[in-house]
Amino acid sequence: MMELCSNKLPTPMSRREMLKTSGIGFGGVALNALLSQDSIALRQPPNLARTKRVIFLFMHGGPSTLDLFDPKDALYKNNGKPLPYDKPRIVSSKTGNLLASPWKFKQHGQSGASVSELLPNIASISDDLCFINSMHCSNSRHGGALLELHTGSDTFTRPAMGSWINYGLGSENNNLPGFITINPPSSHGGSGAWSSAFLPAKYGGTMISGKGSNMNIPFIKSPLKERSQQRKEIDLINAFNKNHISNFEGNTELESRIESYELAFRMQMAAPEIQNIEDEPDHINKLYGADQKPTDEFAKQCIMARRFSEAGVRFVQVTHRYWDSHGNLKDEHTKLSKEMDKPVAGLIQDLKQRGLLDETLVLWGGEFGRTPVAQGNNGRDHNPHGFTMFMAGGGIKPGTKYGSTDSFGYHAEENPVHFHDLHATILHLMGIDHTALTYKYAGRDFRLTDVHGNIISDIII
């Protein structure tokens, strides 16, 4: 509680203050309020929120967005010829001459968005999407770029954007964690991509791993056969605690620990219900591709993401991997696109038909893109200088395109968008001023965007 009070957040109400002002002690306060102890969930967002929740579809490895969303005539024309300007000073691997995309592009929908033949389903909903073709970051390696994308820093350990959002807004559903990441990469930063770093631990992401219905929140399953037995055990803990707390009346920490068992007990009921993706109707399974290979696995994760998001989890991340095609680009990207295309399009359509897309921001993208120059004869190297991400829903203008790369697709040229700008925009959409959401640590106020970040107002409704 201390660390929050000492931080510059507009009038956070400490639990103690709250109990004081509400004039009632333990037992009289709504559970809701008790549980949001030392979070700032009680506050209304300082400016108008356009979205309540984020679903981040993370494409680990760095998809070649040149081959998915950013066709370049010059590449087709100059296939096999040298790049007419210098390659960047810092590169990750040796590359050769220009390599045209092996795939055909068509324009889709009313917006006329260019989408590769690899992604027919995403192409079909392109009028709902906003493509940012001018993304860039600074690190040419997976670990660095991944951490930059998730935390804003490729140099030091910093809280993940989901943790910042959780810290800023608190939870919508007290029976569930506020930040969940499904099957995240264990390499290239690992939990660094969902950690709370110097923020209090409760704001960190909860990792769920496993397959299908075995994806679980840690320790959520009771080894006891009888649910009634666990209820009895909690009653027993309560009896001992009530006896103990009589010496410490008003100690809010001890009080909320008593409550936390009740909450855990309820969470045990709520979570499996949400995680039970088996009860989705056939048409939904079909929509995501959960009913067939090779889409089923990622589809199930996307369905689970929707269910968590629907239940009020602020930030849900799903990871699809592994897009790192240094060689064998044709086969790998064909396979990966097939696995990913339908579930992603299905998720966005599903959110839309449920009326949730307006309040849910969907973000799709990897830690970087890939070079227009070839590595070997059928591969591309990492390219942090220019690539595409797309967003949908939650206050984003649908059917739009923002920024562009140069004529070969190497560098962001028109309206470049750095990860810091992306972060600033996401926070803005959630109703948070990215310059005001700070946390004091090691002698200074830190924020997700450090000293950077411009909101991309052109893509906001």
Binding site: M2, E3, S6, Q37, Y85, D86, V91, S92, R141, H142, G143, G144, L147, D154, T157, S186, S187, G189, G190, S191, G192, A197, F198, P200, A201, K202, G204, T206, P218, F219, I220, K221, E226, S228, Q229, Q230, K232, E233, L236, I237, A239, F240, N241, N243, H244, N247, F248, G250, N251, E253, L254, S260, Y261, L263, A264, M267, K440, A442, G443, R444
Partner: protein
């Protein structure tokens, strides 16, 4: 075309930087003239920052309630309480006090016998004897060494972008535990961690220990896959420099990498003066992707020689045309040499590099360089008279000696405050790692200075400081407080009562295992199954956590970690943390209800009851279990609650019902808190 414009812009930027630098120099010149003229006028110029003024021995304040005072600590504490027209709370009961001492110093609760023997000792020296007994236990270093590891951001893996294993880091951890157990003077402990490799040593064992100590500089988190090796090196230096500053002096040097510190008197020149010292230190041996940490063999000369011979013979053996007979002969020779030959004594630590003075990196960019700054200490802290930096050595030893000096205004204050924080859950300076302008000011500045000077005069002995603190009445107060006190001082900034606080994640696990008779006190060495420069296998975490060793001996893995430990606020091992958070979150409840640890321990406890007292009545069993777990007598009301729980259990098996009772007690606040 594009790049031409960029070049022009870059040059322009350089020009601007140079202009800015010149302006800055001019203003510095102006300020120094002003400063000198002030001094020559006889005005004494003191730093505005309280922490940079050398502590003076304060007079011990007079208090009204003299009877309450047991030692000097109490006078300072009571004075503030009386100033607020308040009274300190009552003394803690003996059973609370003995449990507090065990958990605080050893990290495990006392056994019933240990509680009993303290109870029965009615002599006035009973408490002092208990403190001595606990301070001499090997368990002490495992508890307090872990506190230091929080500050040293200790980890058995690199984390960050490439989670490379640190298979030799455990040597540093064990060195820390040993140093606390030996009560190594803290100034020596500092010097060894920063420059132990440069100190003289009378024998190999000492040489090894001192060199292992510099693992402090090696175990930090590093970006190891960076296509720009020059940037990577500077980032590593920055991490070492910032950690050193904050760990020992509460100073955030890292802020001055790109510009003069905005709040504290640390200039960008100070930063590069220090950075040169670490740039002249060898931490890595390979900078290309994936970079490799410096490891080396510290075997005896004899062992090294034997290994050389073995490899020579092996070479001969593998040559073409060697007869079977000779091969056999070679094998025999090898087996003789290998007899009693230890595996190489690999360590991960730093050594020296050719020395290098750095140029100022304008805005932190190594491609935009300003003037060269010779390696030196920060002037606002160390003064203008500086130790001579050797041309043939990095200067680490000079830096270390200055940090560890009796005359450094920060170092002793920082460590005594850390010790105070770890005893009481709150520092006299609440921001334990920041003594700069943005840190919080001490609530009891005179007490802090008194403790710092006491510490220096007791030869930087941490155990002496424990004695002073624990012998005080302040430490021995009850956690109970009257309404008036709670109202006037809700956060206990006056230390007018004991702050009840949750066990840290390690103590919690160790306490559960110890009460279940499962705790394996054999520790030390490595549980990591990994090779240097290779990726850590986080799959092994599941195996490690099943071990019954004390938690400090389980490998710490950055970018993952044990879910249960993390839920109980185990701090991110990438960052120094002298002031752990203590949260109350639902995953803790889930852990205490459903984890493997809690279920196997409660089962072991049920087995223990039935082997210990198979024929006793339910209430006798319950009585024993309650007092065993809570380290005190059981009350009748509690026994009744327990008995009716057992009787109404939904479990068919009676033993399972007892496991349930054990779980309930282990999850109760009284077990989870140091009271």
């Amino acid at each position: 075309m594009c790049s031409a414009i960029l070049d022009v812009l870059r040059h322009r930027k350089q020009d601007i930087d140079i202009i800015l630098l010149t302006l800055k120099k001019l203003s510095l010149l102006f300020l120094s003239i002003l400063f000198v003229s002030l001094i020559s006028r006889g005005d004494e110029e003191k730093s505005d920052l309280w922490s940079l003024v050398y502590p003076e021995e304060p007079t011990i304040p007079k208090v009204t309630n003299e009877k309450w005072v047991k030692n000097s600590v109490d006078s300072f504490i009571l004075k503030k309480i009386e100033d607020q027209k308040l009274e300190p709370t009552q003394s803690a009961k003996k059973d609370k006090l003995v449990r507090r001492a065990y958990l605080d110093l050893l990290g495990v609760p006392p056994t019933l016998d240990e509680v009993k023997s303290f109870h029965e000792d009615k002599s006035p020296t009973a408490w002092g004897k208990l403190i001595e007994q606990l301070l001499s236990s090997p368990r002490y270093g495992e508890r307090w060494g872990r506190h230091w590891l929080d500050v040293a951001r200790y980890s058995d893996t690199n984390g960050m972008d490439e989670n490379i294993a640190h298979p030799e880091a455990h040597r540093y951890r064990d060195y820390v535990i040993k140093s606390f157990n030996q009560d190594k003077p803290f100034n020596q402990f500092i010097i060894e961690q920063l420059a132990g490799d440069l100190l003289p040593a009378e024998n190999l064992e000492k040489k090894r220990d001192q060199t292992i100590a510099t693992g402090f500089l090696s175990v930090g988190p590093k970006m190891l896959a960076c296509d720009d090796p020059d940037k990577m090196r500077r980032d590593i230096v920055d991490e070492q420099l910032d950690t050193t500053g904050r760990a020992f002096m509460g100073m955030t040097f890292g802020c001055a990498r790109c510009h003069d510190h905005k709040f504290d008197p640390i200039s960008i020149e100070d930063y590069y003066g220090l950075a040169g010292i670490f740039m002249s230190t060898k931490t890595l041996t390979k900078y290309s992707v994936v970079a490799e940490l410096h490891h080396f063999d510290m075997s005896t000369e004899e062992e090294k020689e034997k290994r050389k011979q073995i490899s020579n013979i092996e070479k001969k053996k593998s040559e073409k045309g060697v007869s079977e007979e000779n091969k056999k002969k070679f094998e025999e020779e090898i087996s003789i040499l290998k007899k009693n030959l230890n595996t190489p004594f690999e360590i991960m630590a730093v050594t020296e590099y050719p020395t290098k003075d750095l140029r100022v990196h304008l805005r932190g960019d190594y491609q935009t360089l300003g003037d060269t700054v010779p390696r030196r200490l920060p002037t606002a802290l160390a003064g203008l008279i500086q130790p001579q930096m050797p041309s043939s050595q990095s200067g680490r030893i000079e830096l270390a000696r200055w940090i560890a000096s009796d005359r450094n205004p920060l170092t002793a204050r920082v460590i005594v405050n850390r010790i105070w924080r770890w005893h009481f859950g709150r520092g006299i300076v609440p921001t334990t790692d920041n003594y700069g302008e943005l840190g919080e000011k001490p609530t009891h500045p005179e007490l802090l200075d008194h403790l710092a000077l006491y510490f220096i005069h007791s030869n930087w002995s941490i155990k002496s400081l424990h004695r002073l603190i624990m012998q005080s009445k302040t430490y021995q107060q009850s956690a109970f407080a009257k309404e008036s006190l709670k109202k006037s001082d809700p956060d206990n900034t006056l230390f007018a009562r004991w702050k009840i606080r949750r066990l840290e994640s390690e103590s919690l696990r160790d306490s559960i295992l110890s009460k279940s008779n499962l705790l394996d006190f054999n520790g030390g060495g490595s549980m990591m199954d990994a090779k240097k420069h290779k990726y850590a296998n986080r799959g092994k975490l599941k195996e490690h956590i099943k071990s019954n060793k004390r938690t400090i001996y389980l490998p710490v893995m950055r970018s993952s970690g044990y879910e249960g430990q993390n839920a109980f606020d185990f701090p991110d091992p990438s960052m120094i943390n002298g002031n752990r958070n203590s949260s109350t979150v639902t995953p803790q409840a889930l852990f205490l209800m459903n984890s493997d640890l809690i279920h196997r321990s409660s089962k072991a406890l049920a087995d223990l009851i039935f082997s210990k007292m198979p024929d006793e009545a339910i209430d006798e069993k319950a009585k024993w279990l309650i007092s065993h777990l809570l380290s005190r007598e059981a009350h009748n009301k509690e026994i009744n609650t327990a008995v009716s729980f057992i009787k109404s259990s939904a479990e068919k098996d009676e033993k399972a019902a007892w496991s349930g009772l054990a779980r309930g007690l282990l999850a109760s606040n009284e077990f989870l808190y140091i009271e």
